[in-house]
Symmetry: C2
Subunit: 289 residues, 2 copies
């Protein structure tokens, strides 16, 4: 129990006006506003440091490994030769950290719209933001939609490590964006997109998958567990332009890579694509599960 | 958004003094105290009706199907001939409802210590408690530990559908109880136990599995998603006295059964036993994963 005289400080996120998630706060470490959003980093008593954008929990030190391992390793171990990787969003650096564990990756371009997120994480979340110091990193502070429309580069994998479709990330959920993204992917390219809660966001998940469908040969959803997101069950979209299947046995590649993980392993990779019936029904006829 | 003049009513569960989960409440439907615990049923705006014991969320109408399908169908489809089933706890009736979907089940004995839970659920949660009207049901208001020590009956499957190891359920997490339970199982019997959060309760999970180990041939953990429990990721223990493996292909049996589910399917069954490395490491040398 806390000392009775101590300030009873909590951060609370209210979701869909129905559900709230709260975390006891020891100290507010960072609190500033950019032209895009409010950015806060707090030290919690149970989850280590926590990043919030516009009051929504983005990550905590306790469990960020799950999200970042899954968004990176599922596509990177599926792809035979992931040279050139694009990350849209992900200004905390956690996704880039996991991508950079793959020795065959030659270049990682990360396009974050909000410099304040990068600066806050550089100062307070070095375990994630240390990836920005890697010589393979090409960090751009720019609008992801603009970048995808204008770049002449071609990528093997695009990871959309975005916030929710409110605020600055909204255009990243549009059909036009997915079309542009598919055009800058190589023929065997893979697009991964943050695909919200399969319980609470069935409508968003369905519209995202419909919007991606026309531009990819196969389309699927995979699941992960996130302690600081409402309901805990979360998902990513897996869209493949060529013949790379989500059902990939990565046992040998994972072993050879020497990469250390806490959540991802080759069995978890395959199991994450096994969907309960209520998720399959919602996306029936759209995804290839 | 809610009407500004409306009472801003929430139920909140604080977990390990660090994390809170809240649900907006439309109305308190039931609120009484038994000699064991406080029992409340509230109508929430986002999750339908919700049962709380001692202020801890037990279930909500929105997602109770996940927990109840998984605790029942994983062992019942694994076992070749589950005739006689014992449920310890489960006074809401949800687990019994799923067990009774199996036509080969001849008798379900449910031992709930707290009559008030049964009465509250009979009144306000008929979708779960309707199972008590089934002619195969043998509902006993009794202490589960006492029942297990005294019964002359033998069971094919025991489901420990308990609250957490605080309050009345505490003895259900002891080595002595698991030993007694194993003695009233048939030689090919299976024991399923509510095994807490793999993230937040690593110590409880480890001590539970250690306490069960000596009395069972194989021991494992399987995972499920529960929106109203802290972190969302939850688990059950799967302990098998004989040769029935947790790795059972239930495709044909599931199809033949005609049982309708929303979460469980034969692929989810197998995938639920695929464990991330941090869970395997915690239980290393104890479970057979």
């Amino acid at each position: 129990m806390q000392n009775k005289n101590k300030l009873d400080l909590w951060v609370k996120e209210v979701f869909q006006d129905n559900v709230s998630l709260g975390f006891r706060v020891d100290k507010v470490l960072f609190s500033e506003r950019s032209k895009y959003q409010q950015v806060d980093i707090v030290k919690t008593t149970g989850h280590g440091k926590m990043l919030l954008n516009d009051g929504m929990v983005m990550l905590s030190e306790k469990d960020e490994f799950v999200y970042h391992e899954m968004i990176a390793h599922v596509p990177l171990f599926s792809h035979p030769n992931p040279d050139n990787i694009l990350i849209i969003g992900g200004g905390d650096g956690g996704t880039a950290r996991e991508v950079l564990k793959h020795k065959n990756v030659k270049k990682v371009t990360l396009v974050e719209i909000d410099k304040l997120v990068v600066n806050a994480c550089k100062k307070h979340l070095p375990k994630l933001s240390k990836s920005f110091d890697d010589p393979k990193m090409n960090l751009l502070i720019d609008d992801g939609v603009k970048f995808v429309n204008e770049t002449k580069d071609k990528f093997d994998i695009i990871l959309i490590d975005s916030t929710d479709p409110v605020g600055p990330a909204t255009p990243l959920f549009n059909r036009e964006f997915y079309e542009s993204a598919s055009k800058i992917l190589n023929d065997d390219g893979i697009l991964i997109s943050q695909a919200e809660s399969p319980f609470y966001n069935q409508d968003i998940q369905l519209s995202m998958m419909k919007a991606q469908r026309d531009f990819f040969k196969t389309l699927n959803i995979f699941l992960l567990s996130n302690l600081t997101y409402p309901g805990g069950l979360w998902s990513f979209g897996f869209a493949s332009k060529g013949d790379i299947s989500f059902k990939t046995d990565t046992t040998e590649k994972f072993k050879d890579s020497g990469i250390k993980t806490k959540y991802y392993n080759p069995d978890v990779h395959l199991a994450s694509f096994v969907l309960p019936d209520f998720i399959k029904e919602n996306l029936s006829g759209i995804i290839d599960n």
